[in-house]
């Protein structure tokens, strides 16, 4: 393979660093991931079809996709509010609150899992108020959604913040001076400018929620057909030594995740190009 330089460089270490990067990447990431696809490909089509159409598998995909979607929508709405508050308003303790947004990134998922379960259990701080209303939070799809909302929030806020900061106040002033109301300015000037970032954050939160395990397994209750998420089902199949079943579901999940990654890159590429052609 020939590696083409666009210009000659005096900086040393190209061969060493590129070589090391490729070898390490292949050993740790690419080889193990390809093992998953090879294992799935070695199964017969009937077996793959059987696995995917199994009602328990279908139910878990419905729950994972549905709860992740609802959580990502909640995060898109409230994340926009949080990002707006942090960028536009000043209030005491802002730096602390800004730092705390990253908590779901930093807090180990098992810790978030047991904390959320304790809070939303029928005897918990919030659960005891929901119970008389007939709302079962923990050990139900609602609990799954709550955990996935927790885990996805920073993705929306952190992608929106720079986009909101980059907005040129002059554009809003122009809109106002041309007679636009504040809501009109938001809808027709601010929203179009930050929409790609909002969509990216939404997709990132959705992708993370889809694969999330630790914060969900405690609060979910893990009843087959009802509150069993896809990552847990993969683990269950593995523990039953149903390797083909586990890898087939995992491969479907991976393809979904890669598709989302592609979509996110697509949005960013599109918005960068759009941005350039405007400016």
């Amino acid at each position: 393979m020939r590696i083409a330089f666009t210009r000659h460089s005096v900086i040393p270490g190209f061969g060493l660093t590129v070589g090391y990067t490729m070898v390490y990447l292949s050993l740790i990431v690419l080889l193990p991931l390809s093992a998953l696809f090879l294992k799935t490909a070695s199964a017969s089509w009937e077996h793959i079809g059987e696995t995917i159409s199994d009602p328990r598998v279908v139910a878990s995909f419905r729950l994972s996709l549905g709860a992740s979607l609802v959580a990502a929508i909640i995060n898109a709405v409230f994340g926009l509010g949080v990002a707006w508050t942090l960028v536009r308003y000043s209030f005491p303790g802002k730096r602390v609150i800004d730092a705390i947004v990253d908590l779901p990134f930093a807090l180990p998922t098992a810790v978030s899992g047991i904390a959320l379960t304790t809070i939303y259990a029928p005897t918990g701080w919030i659960g005891q108020w929901l119970e008389p209303l007939g709302i079962k939070a923990a050990f139900s799809p609602l609990g799954v959604t709550i955990a996935l909302t927790f885990i996805g929030l920073p993705f929306v806020v952190r992608t929106l913040q720079p986009a909101l900061e980059d907005l040129d106040p002059a554009v809003e002033e122009a809109a106002a001076s041309l007679g636009a109301g504040r809501w009109q300015t938001f809808r027709h000037v601010i929203m179009p400018a930050v929409f790609p970032a909002l969509l990216t954050g939404f997709a990132l939160a959705f992708a993370r929620a889809l694969g999330e395990y630790g914060s969900v397994v405690f609060i979910a209750g893990n009843m087959p057909m009802k509150t069993e998420i896809v990552p847990l089902l993969i683990l269950v199949k593995l523990e039953q030594y149903d390797y083909t079943g586990a890898t087939t579901i995992a491969a479907v999940m991976l393809i979904l995740s890669f598709f989302l990654l592609l979509l996110i890159n697509g949005i960013q590429w599109w918005s960068a190009r759009h941005h350039r052609s405007e400016g």
Binding site: Y20, I234, F258
Partner: protein, 304 residues
Amino acid sequence: MGGTAKSRLAGRRPLMPVSATGDPAWVRWLIGIVSLSFLGLFLVVPLVAVFTEALRKGLGAYLESFQNRDALAAIKLTLAVAAIAVPLNVVFGLAASWAIAKFDFRGKSLLTTLIDLPFAVSPVISGVIYVLLFGLQGWFGPWLAAHDIQIIFAIPGIVLATVFVTFPFVARELIPLMQEQGTEEEEAALVLGASGWQTFRRVTLPNVRWGLLYGVILCNARAMGEFGAVSVVSGHLRGQTNTMPLHVEILYNEYNFVAAFAVASLLALLALVTLIVKAMVEWQTQRQSLETLTPLVPIHQEAA
């Protein structure tokens, strides 16, 4: 200086009409209160709950949880796994960012995307792929068994899974930073006779130190806190292959809530330290970028 600017603005404010880019007061209050309540409900309440539950039976019971042999073994294992995984990914991150930021070559953007790949993989799948390779029924399983080497349900498996999930952290912090800084300073050092290693140590490394620290902190937090991937490859043997998050799970499932939350509170403290260091690093880089805006000539030269 800041004071005069502020008072000048304050003095002018009454003369100015309502700002065209500001929201009406009731909108500000509404958005602010709703957003902050959402944060409080979803982020602050769980964090407070961890410490409240850990201290439910008093400080004595809390501290007693750490006297337990299995808890201590879990803490030790977690520290050991992070001590292997983090340096491995730091070396990789430095190599990858050097290659990607300082050189142009075909396939560069593909390589950058591939480095981010582990972030797109569910933690459970990150564990499963190693079971497929090294498990008893995996590709290398029979060979490993014949040579009496155990990777899955043992510590090497835990290390591998941890390396996988923390793989991109350092690289993805360093690549954009090094790209932004370009190659001019390194070229100058090399032209002046520094060796490649000297250039890296004395020029590149100091330039990226805050980004590197940030990457290490995030990598470490995830390495110590990883649950899903480690849960798949660990045999859940108490006192042997249980990391702290796995030990939390076992205690919680045994209804030993105080002990579970006590171990969890250590992990929560780690998370808080991570957030504080992150905020400090961000503040540092902000200050640095402000400094680079003003004097192009180094101060000591100006004085001379």
